[in-house]
Amino acid sequence: MKLTGPLERVLRVFLADPAAPRYGYDLMKASKLPSGTLYPMLARLQEQGLVSSAWEPTEAGGRPPRRYYRLTDEGAETARQELARAAVARPDARGAARGSTRPARGSA
């Protein structure tokens, strides 16, 4: 996995609460990425088995069901390793290597 800036932001958002399922717009807001960047990334992560997705079981509040994404166990492990590696490579981001869930630069 090549850790690009946008991918790093998405992984940090997921790792803030690895068990929590996140829907597309929620991820977009948290990572400050446009849909044209986020969705191809989610598709790639899903192909690699790092992210799984599931549909909301029922309609809620009169809106159509949404698709939720979450990191798989393997995905969470890989994400932590990649972020730790990136933090070692960049001394100013050591906080992330210690398991901090501080959002990446420019994120909410």
Binding site: G24, S35, A43, R63
Partner: protein, 150 residues
């Protein structure tokens, strides 16, 4: 839920356009997924005023077109028989349009009608180029499909 915002059908139309770029197997699911995000974007309480939410919804929908093209553009993705059939039909329509244009010019010439010239002919140039490019993309898709299913 409150009444449907005016911008929603426009964003839904853009998402439908985006889904046409996807293979038939994934089209419906992705369209449902992206369309389901629109009410959330348009009702986001963190974003004010309403105009900004509308702009976000359109930006989201335009982004789905980018997504579809990135994943399954002319040069990307696995093509199914249905994709090849649609490419064939589109190519046939393009050829028909060109044939019709040639017929109109020929008939016009035979009837001694003046062909559009000067500024009146200008809009025909981008239309012709667009049809050519579109037809070219369909040919590439068909060739790719043939290579994938050789």
């Amino acid at each position: 839920m409150a009444s449907r915002p005016v911008i929603q059908p426009i964003a839904e139309y853009l998402i439908r356009r985006a889904s046409y770029h996807l293979p038939a197997s994934a089209r419906d699911e992705r369209r449902r997924e992206w369309t389901a995000e629109l009410p959330v974007i348009l009702a986001d309480p963190d974003v004010r005023p309403r105009l900004v939410r509308a702009a976000r919804a359109v930006r989201f929908a335009v982004g789905t077109i980018r997504t579809a093209r990135r994943e399954h553009g002319v040069f990307r993705g696995q093509l199914t028989g249905a994709d090849a059939r649609s490419a064939g039909v589109r190519l046939f329509v393009c050829a028909g349009l060109w044939l019709a244009a040639i017929c109109v010019v020929r008939v016009g010439g035979a009837l001694h009608l003046r062909a559009p010239h000067g500024i009146w002919a200008l809009p025909l140039v981008p239309v012709g180029v667009a049809i050519e490019l579109f037809a070219g993309a369909q040919v590439i898709k068909l060739v790719r499909w043939l290579c994938q299913h050789d």
